[in-house]
Assembly symmetry: C2
Homo-oligomer: 482 residues x 2
């Protein structure tokens, strides 16, 4: 039985899957395929234990590396799949994969330098967990020899959105670790076709298996400048509500660089385990379309969607209240949410990122802001904003509490529609349950808590001259936001 | 100065402009081009007076013929453009144009058989009102001779969605009434091209000018079976809150038939006034695109819309909260609303109707129901429906009142966010103003009124086991709905 500690990278904030993936709620946390998010699927895939005829793996509690804005989403989503993290490291700022992996390795090596780490992005699709576990098990012999193992996906088409790994030879049945010949950058279409034909190239999935001491040795050898600041950031990390905040001062001194550039492309001790089952990094809506099993006409319908005479088309509604209809479409992807709709030619999937830049430049809030705003205590969404008023739906997790606060410009009416709230207004504290309401006069110091065992949902109607999020004075906050 | 009474046909409920046009809120009432609805633009175009060097017109208060569901929309929209109707005739059921026009002619002839009627659909676009007034004036000489005048639009392309009018000859400068040779049904593409080339065909706009006595004579001669039931429906019409309800019994005995089939194609005394300025019946989103002045790339953006590398494409957001983005599109029309999104190839504009049939068969409420529900007293829209609760925004016009009512399954919380409400709960009546709230317990008899001079807006939060519209017991209703 080999113990393996998963290291899940969950700090990215891609925009190629806009409008579902946004800066404030990126792709890995969105339910792109099915009910579960990619992050949740990754957490579950790398939990518990797994065994084959000749191997047995036991996954330790994972270390998650993420950004400050996502820490409560991580906690909420791990809670929902009932996996406790070993640690959640908060990056003060995103610095690409090298500093993140180094921080996780240092954190784990302090306890056990021999620990075996499986480093994986949390936004990939790997439908066959058993096949993946077996590939991991096959990598262990190389890890035992002090090698850094990467996983190479057997390509199914001449993809230009992935980097490639060249190996000396690749028999069809090869499953054992192979020596790596070289990394190849994302190719042009022609080069991709040549590599596919040659048959000795694999997709670089960015998934790694190694012992903590070996990756640290590799960093020492190939990216020594990262060691001092990241060591300091880990050493001076501050525990905060179950998260571990890497120290911002030292972290600011790290370079932004990928682990491939910083270490892997320079290391001589790399092995590649070929992986022949399905894999995708869902790098665009075309990939989501492909992974969603199109019907005979090439049509994928998700949510309330209707296609009439369409071919090779994705029609997707991500809102219960929204119906999307396509007529006579060819090679179109259309994704509709409550606040944003994307319609694009399928060949332009990689340009969605560009579109988001255009929206940002126009000052359109949908460019980065998700309609549901996740907070330590739950989430809220704005239902309607009008002149001098706003209506919000607010969900508070069991046991959670909002800060003790007041507003200068608005009064609030709260109507509880599910669960029970404990409400403080001035000196008075009372329980408010379904179908009861509370009035918070302008200026009154107030707090909302959920003392119960089920989520509490309330409708908040704000009235006043200004109803922006920044009209808030915090007096006390269990999440240290005062 | 010639007095003319406009007769506006506003009973249709087309679905080719879904999702903006729906059974509950059809095209003529939607703000398709600019802020004003097509109905409002039609009302304004045919109001006041107009004069040229040799003519002067004075428009009487218009007679509007519409359906029961639309009567309050008609009243509200005419109020907004400050034109009072001469009469609003309510058709118990839609029967196409012949019975509607006959009813209006009978209603007006009772007062003055010599009255000159200008009958027009209320969902057409005629940008140049002055040119149209001049065309009307040119038709008067023929009306004076007892002729029925129709208007023929000089075609700009080989359109297959319109019927045609053939005239014996059509010099480029012809503006005076010409004799009609024959009506031509909507043609195939080839026939349309032939007619365009021949140069003696005009589009049939369905706009007519005649004396009341002459159209009655024509009905008597060519569709005598319609006279008895429509005469009875007008004679027994019941005034109701400023509307005139045609009697449903006799109305049920009328045939459903267009005025072209019933009368015009048979009458020998038809004249055609050629009309050379822009006109469109906005019969599909492709027409809306064309009339919205596409830019050099053929792109039309309406509302929050962004196009990247698109050509010949309509991107339209009809919600303030919704941003639509198109990338790399060719010949696509995409229309987004809060509850429904249409994406179609431009060539399939006429198939939108089919799509609505498919949605209807699937039981999708968006097929026919508009998100804003217009009522005699104002409108409401559902903001969110959850388990055991619903949140609505409600607007009540000044002076209007909802029925005295109660509910079996739900309690209601009302929070006024604009204006002032007079609220009855049980025996108590009180004024509730901005930022005040009221609780309506389950079963309590209650009423909401707006006694003020400005619209009253409130947020209603319903909680209970069932929050459907049909949980309502009405005790008193100023709109006679008990």
């Amino acid at each position: 039985m080999t113990r393996i500690t998963p290291v899940l990278l969950a700090g990215g904030s891609g925009t190629r899957l806009w409008p579902l993936s946004r800066k404030s709620y990126p792709k890995q946390f969105a339910p792109l395929l099915g009910e579960e998010s990619l992050f949740q699927a990754s957490v579950r895939r790398l939990s518990g234990s797994a065994a084959g005829p000749e191997w047995a793996l036991d996954f330790d509690a994972p270390v998650v590396v993420t950004g400050n804005d996502f820490r409560f989403i991580v906690a909420e989503q791990m809670g929902a799949v009932e996996v406790d993290p070993g640690a959640v490291l908060i990056e003060p700022e995103g610095r690409n994969t090298a500093p993140a992996i180094l921080a996780a390795a240092l954190h784990l090596a302090a306890r056990d330098p021999e620990a075996i780490l499986l480093v994986a992005p949390s936004d990939h699709v790997i439908p066959d967990a058993a096949a993946f576990h077996e590939a991991v098990a096959r990598g262990l012999s190389a890890v035992a020899e002090g090698r850094l193992v990467t996983f190479g996906i057997r390509p199914t088409h001449a993809e230009t959105a992935y980097g490639y790994l060249e190996v000396p030879g690749l028999p069809e049945e090869a499953q054992e670790p192979l020596p790596l010949r070289r990394f190849v950058e994302k190719p042009e279409a022609e080069a991709a076709a040549r590599m596919l034909a040659k048959g000795t190239f694999l997709w670089n999935a960015g998934i790694f298996l190694f012992a903590a001491k070996d990756i640290l040795a590799a960093f020492r050898a190939h990216a020594p400048d990262l060691l001092e600041p990241v060591e300091a950031a880990v050493r001076e990390a501050r525990p905060d509500l179950g998260f571990l905040r890497l120290a911002p001062g030292p972290w600011a001194r790290t370079r932004e660089i990928s682990v491939d550039y910083a270490v892997m492309e320079k290391a001589a001790n790399l092995s590649v385990v070929p992986y022949g089952s399905a894999w995708s990094d869902l790098g665009g809506w075309d990939a989501v379309w492909r992974e969603s099993l199109p019907d005979d006409a090439g049509v994928v319908l998700t949510g309330g969607a209707t296609a009439i005479d369409c071919r090779d088309t994705l029609l997707r509604s991500d809102s219960q209240q929204l119906e999307i209809v396509g007529i006579g479409l060819r090679n179109i992807m259309a994704v509709a949410m409550n606040d944003a709709v994307l319609v694009a030619d399928m060949s332009r999937a990689q340009d969605v990122r560009k579109a988001v830049e255009v929206l940002k430049a126009k000052g359109v809030p949908q460019a980065g802001q998700f309609p549901k705003d996740h907070r330590p205590w739950g989430w809220f969404e704005s239902l309607v904003v009008g002149p001098r008023f706003q209506v919000k739906r607010i969900l508070v997790h069991p046991g959670a509490a909002l800060s003790l606060q007041s507003h200068v410009h608005r009064s609030e009416h709260w109507i509880v529609v599910a669960g029970t709230a404990r409400v403080t207004v001035g000196d008075e504290v009372r329980l408010v349950t379904e179908n009861e309401s509370v009035y918070i006069p302008l200026g009154a110091v107030h707090r909302m808590e959920n003392p119960g065992k089920v989520p509490m949902v309330l409708i908040e109607v704000q009235t006043g001259a200004y109803v922006g999020e920044d009209d808030i004075i915090r007096y006390e906050d269990v999440y240290a936001r005062t």
